[in-house]
C-alpha cells in the first residue's frame, strides 16, 4: 500500500472502526458516547431502505443524508477513503494472486442485488442490511472473530492459572489491560457465527478474481453510491485511457474495464493521478450536462429487479404463529412490524448487550427476521438499569430511552410452568425468581401455602405467583431458575407492550387458599 492521502485516510478510518467496535461495550458508565453505529449513521443504503420501508423520517439519519449530498457533489469517495471493508480488501488484495475476473458477476449483477432490496423495502421488507458491507464486517467481527479473540486470550489466561495458580496474579495488570479494553466480557457463543464468518471470508476471497470484486460487482451500498456519483461535479480528465499509455488500467482498483473511467465505479483513490508517468491526469470540479456513458441499469434490469423485489416481499414475510411466542425483542420495541422495517441487522445491540441476552435470529423470526436480535432469557436477561442496546442502535429500531422509561418497557410476560416449578411440582421451597425480580414492588411474589409434601407430611411451601401488570419480561427469572434445562418460569412475547406502571397492585395475600387433598392418604 502506497502512502497516499487516500490510503492514510483509509487506515485511520479502519482504526477508528476497530476502536469504536471495542468501545461498543459497557465500560463502567451508563452511556456510550461513541459507538461503531457511526458507520451506519452515515450509510446511505441504511438511509434509503429506512425511508422506503418505514416511510418516516428520523433525525438519526441526518449524517447519512449529508453523506448522500457529499456523494452527489464529490462522487463515490466513501468506498475509496472511508469504508473499512474496502480497506481490508485493499490490504489483503496485494497478497492474493489474481486469476481472471469472474464472468458471472460482470454487468448487471449488482443491480439485480440492489434493485430488489430497495423495492422490497418499499413493500415493507427491509433486508438490505443483510448485504450492507459494514454490517457484513461487523457481524463477522461480533459473532466470530471477537469471540475467537476472547476465547484464545482467556483460555490462555485460564490455563496459566492451572500451571502457576495464584502466582498468576503478578501478570494480572498486563492481562487486565487487554481484557478491559479489547476482549468481550464473557464468552458468548452466537448462532450464525459460522455463516457470518463465511460471508466475510467469501467477500475477501473474491479478491482472487480481481481487485475489489465485491465493491465493483456486488456491494449494494457501493452501487447506490455509484448511482449518486453519476451526477457528481468532480471529474477526471482525461476520461478515458490515453492512446499512447494505458497504465491507468493496471493501477485502477475498480474501473477501466471498458477502457474509460466509469464514474459509477471510480472510488476517487487518486492512484491514477499519482501513478501517471506523464502527469496528465487531474480531478477537477466541472459542471457538465454531458452523460458519461450509457445510463445503467438498462430498462430490462430495472423493471426485472423491481419485480423481483416485489415478489420477494411476500414469501419472505411468512412466519409460523407458534414461533411468535418466543419472539422476544430488545426493550422498547413495541411493534414487531415497525421493528423489522427499521432494523439494519448490524449486530450492534448483540455486541453491546451487557448480559449477552441478545442473539441473531436464524429461523425463529422467519426469513424476514434473519439476523434480527432475539432475547433468549435462558442465556441472558435484560439488565434492569441498562439502556445500551437502544443507545447503539443506528436507526432507532430499538429506541434510545432514559433508564426510567426503559425499566417500564415490556419485552414479554413471565408464565409459571407448574409441572416444573419446584414449589408446585415437588412441594419444596425455591423462590429464586422472586429474589431476582428487579421490579421494586416485585412482579413475582410468593405466599405461604399449607400443602402436603411428596413424603406425605403436611408442610408450608412458598408458592410464587406473577403480578402480570408490573412484569416487564426482562427474563431474569427464567435465567436464574435453578431447574436444569427447561425453566419453571418462562417469558413469552405479548402483543400489547404498553409500558408497565408502578401503581401498587392489590396483594392477594389474605385470600383463602384452598388446601390440596393429601395425595397419599394413610
Amino acid at each position: 500500500m502506497k502512502r497516499t492521502p487516500a490510503r492514510i485516510c483509509q487506515l485511520l478510518f479502519l482504526a477508528l472502526f476497530l476502536i469504536l467496535f471495542m468501545q461498543t461495550e459497557y465500560r463502567g458508565r451508563d452511556e456510550i458516547n461513541a459507538a461503531v453505529n457511526t458507520f451506519f449513521r452515515v450509510n446511505p443504503l441504511v438511509l434509503f431502505s429506512y425511508l422506503l420501508a418505514a416511510k418516516s423520517w428520523s433525525w438519526l439519519l441526518l449524517p447519512a443524508l449529508l453523506m448522500t449530498l457529499a456523494t452527489l457533489i464529490l462522487g463515490r469517495f466513501f468506498c475509496g477513503w472511508i469504508c473499512p471493508l474496502g480497506t481490508i480488501l485493499d490490504l489483503v488484495s496485494t497478497r492474493i494472486r489474481k486469476t481472471a475476473p469472474l464472468r458471472i458477476l460482470q454487468g448487471n449483477t449488482k443491480y439485480w442485488l440492489l434493485l430488489p432490496l430497495l423495492t422490497a423495502s418499499l413493500f415493507n421488507l427491509n433486508v438490505s442490511g443483510l448485504f450492507d458491507p459494514i454490517a457484513i464486517l461487523l457481524r463477522g467481527l461480533t459473532f466470530l472473530l471477537h469471540p475467537l479473540l476472547g476465547l484464545v486470550s482467556r483460555s490462555g489466561w485460564v490455563s496459566l492459572y492451572g500451571l502457576i495458580g495464584e502466582r498468576r496474579d503478578t501478570l494480572a495488570p498486563a492481562y487486565n489491560l487487554i481484557r478491559d479494553n479489547m476482549l468481550p466480557f464473557r464468552d458468548a457463543l452466537y448462532p450464525l457465527a459460522l455463516l457470518s464468518g463465511m460471508i466475510l471470508l467469501a467477500v475477501i476471497a473474491l479478491e482472487r478474481f480481481e481487485t475489489r470484486t465485491w465493491c465493483r460487482t456486488l456491494c449494494p451500498l457501493g452501487t447506490l453510491l455509484g448511482w449518486l456519483a453519476r451526477f457528481s461535479l468532480l471529474r477526471r480528465t482525461p476520461t478515458g485511457l490515453c492512446a499512447d499509455c494505458g497504465v491507468c488500467r493496471d493501477i485502477c482498483p475498480t474501473s477501466f474495464r471498458q477502457g474509460h473511467l466509469d464514474k459509477e465505479e471510480c472510488v476517487l483513490c487518486l492512484d491514477c493521478q499519482d501513478g501517471c508517468p506523464h502527469g496528465r491526469i487531474s480531478f477537477r470540479p466541472k459542471l457538465t450536462l454531458k452523460r458519461a456513458g450509457p445510463l445503467r441499469p438498462e430498462r430490462r434490469v430495472l423493471l426485472g429487479g423491481m419485480a423481483a423485489g416485489l415478489m420477494l416481499a411476500i414469501p419472505a414475510r411468512f412466519r409460523s404463529p407458534e414461533k411468535e411466542s418466543k419472539l422476544l425483542r430488545p426493550p422498547g420495541v413495541r411493534s414487531e412490524d415497525e421493528f423489522l422495517k427499521k432494523c439494519v441487522r448490524c449486530g450492534e445491540c448483540m455486541k453491546v448487550c451487557l448480559k449477552n441476552a441478545l442473539y441473531p435470529a436464524a429461523y425463529q423470526a422467519g426469513l424476514e427476521g434473519f439476523y434480527t436480535p432475539l432475547l433468549i432469557p435462558r442465556l441472558g436477561y435484560c439488565e434492569y438499569n441498562c439502556t445500551l442496546c437502544g443507545q447503539v442502535c443506528p436507526t432507532g429500531a430499538i429506541p434510545s430511552l432514559l433508564v426510567e422509561s426503559k425499566r417500564r418497557e415490556v419485552i414479554g410476560k413471565a408464565v409459571f410452568d407448574k409441572n416444573h416449578c419446584l414449589p408446585f411440582a415437588r412441594k419444596i421451597d425455591c423462590i429464586v425468581c422472586e429474589e431476582h425480580c428487579p421490579i421494586p414492588e416485585k412482579a413475582i411474589r410468593s405466599r405461604e401455602v399449607p400443602t402436603v409434601g411428596l413424603d406425605g407430611l403436611p408442610r408450608i411451601v412458598k408458592e410464587p405467583y406473577l403480578v402480570e401488570d408490573i412484569c416487564n419480561g426482562c427474563g431474569i427469572c427464567e435465567n436464574v431458575c435453578p431447574l436444569e434445562s427447561k425453566a419453571g418460569i418462562e417469558v413469552f412475547a405479548v402483543k400489547n407492550r404498553t409500558p408497565i406502571s408502578y401503581k401498587p397492585v392489590r396483594q392477594p395475600e389474605n385470600q383463602p387458599v384452598s388446601q390440596p387433598e393429601n395425595p397419599y392418604p394413610s
Partner: protein, 294 residues
C-alpha cells in the same frame, strides 16, 4: 456406694457432662456483640472493631485478608441492597493499618458484575488504596470443596477466600423473600460458585453446611441503612430505613441474632440463624449474648 448406684450415677453423669461442660464454657465466653451508632459510617465501623479488641487481634502483619461485602445487586448506595462503601472502605483501611499484605474485596454478584461493582460504590471507594484488589470473580478460581454437610456434600468455593489468612464478613442487613432476612450467615453465598439457586430448596441447612466448613473470623454487619421489604434487592427508597448502626462480632450467629432485632423480629424467626445455632456455629439466645454499645 454399691455397683448399681455407681452405674446409675456414672450413666447420668456421662449423659449430662457434655451439656454441663458446654454450659460452663458458654457462660465463660459469652459472645460479645458490639453496636456502634453514629452518622459517620467510617468512624462507627472503626469504633465497632476497636470495641472487639481492635483489628490487630484479627489481622497480623503480612496477612492476606478477604473483606467480603454484599455487592450482589445493581443498586445505588441509598437503596440498601449492597454494603455501604464507607463501611467497606473503613474495614479495608483498618486491615491495611494492621499490616495486611493484601486485602481482597469481591463478591459473586447476581446482576452483571461490572454494574454491581460500579453502582454499589464499592469499587470506586477503594480506588487508589494500595495493596487492595477489588476484582471481579473469575470462574476458573472456584474449586470443589468437600463439605460433608447435611444438605451439601460438596460445593464450589472461591480460592481467594479459601487461601486467605483472615476472612472478614461484611454483609448489609436486609429483608429476603425466602429466608426473611439476609445477614452474615447468608452473605457466605458470595464465595460460592455454581448454580447457587439450587441451595434455596433447603437454604438454612445448606448455609449451615457452608458456614460450618468455612468460618468468618469477624462479622461486621452494615445497618447504617436497612432494607425492610422487597429484599434482597429492593429498589424503592420507601423500603429503606436509616439506622446509622454497625454491628460487629466474632460470632456470626450472635451478630445475626442481634441484627434481627433491628427489624422487629426475634432470632428464632429466622430459620437460617436457628439452623446455624443448632449446628453449634454460635449463640442466638439474646440473653446469653453480651451487647456492648460503643
Amino acid at each position: 456406694m454399691d455397683r448399681r448406684t455407681f452405674l446409675k450415677a456414672s450413666g447420668a453423669a456421662s449423659l449430662l457432662a457434655p451439656i454441663l461442660i458446654r454450659k460452663a464454657l458458654a457462660a465463660r465466653e459469652q459472645p460479645l456483640v458490639v453496636v456502634a451508632e453514629g452518622s459517620d459510617y467510617a468512624a462507627i465501623t472503626r469504633k465497632a472493631i476497636n470495641a472487639l479488641g481492635g483489628i490487630k487481634k484479627f489481622v497480623k502483619p503480612g496477612n492476606v485478608v478477604v473483606v467480603k461485602p454484599n455487592m450482589g445487586w445493581d443498586r445505588s448506595v441509598e437503596l440498601a441492597a449492597n454494603t455501604h462503601p464507607l463501611v467497606v472502605r473503613a474495614v479495608v483501611e483498618e486491615c491495611l493499618a494492621a499490616g495486611a499484605k493484601k486485602v481482597k474485596v469481591f463478591d459473586n454478584t447476581c446482576n452483571d458484575a461490572r454494574r454491581c461493582y460500579v453502582n454499589s460504590g464499592i469499587e470506586n471507594a477503594l480506588k487508589g488504596l494500595k495493596n487492595v484488589d477489588c476484582k471481579q470473580i473469575e470462574t476458573e478460581r472456584f474449586s470443589k470443596v468437600t463439605l460433608n454437610g447435611q444438605f451439601l456434600k460438596e460445593w464450589e468455593l472461591y480460592d481467594e477466600a479459601l487461601t486467605a489468612d483472615v476472612y472478614i464478613n461484611v454483609p448489609v442487613a436486609k429483608h429476603h423473600g425466602l429466608s426473611k432476612l439476609t445477614l452474615g450467615l447468608k452473605n457466605i453465598m458470595g464465595i460460592m460458585g455454581g448454580k447457587r439457586g439450587y441451595i434455596h430448596r433447603d437454604l438454612e441447612v445448606a448455609l449451615a453446611d457452608v458456614n460450618a466448613h468455612f468460618k468468618s473470623h469477624l462479622t461486621i454487619i452494615d445497618a447504617t441503612r436497612i432494607l425492610t421489604n422487597h429484599g434482597p434487592q429492593g429498589g424503592n427508597i420507601a423500603d429503606v430505613k436509616v439506622l446509622n448502626k454497625v454491628i460487629a462480632s466474632v460470632d456470626v450467629v450472635a451478630a445475626d441474632a442481634f441484627a434481627t432485632t433491628l427489624f422487629g423480629l426475634k432470632p428464632s424467626d429466622i430459620a437460617v440463624t436457628v439452623a446455624a445455632h443448632k449446628r453449634g456455629l454460635g449463640e442466638m439466645d439474646l440473653s446469653k449474648i453480651r451487647v456492648f454499645r460503643a
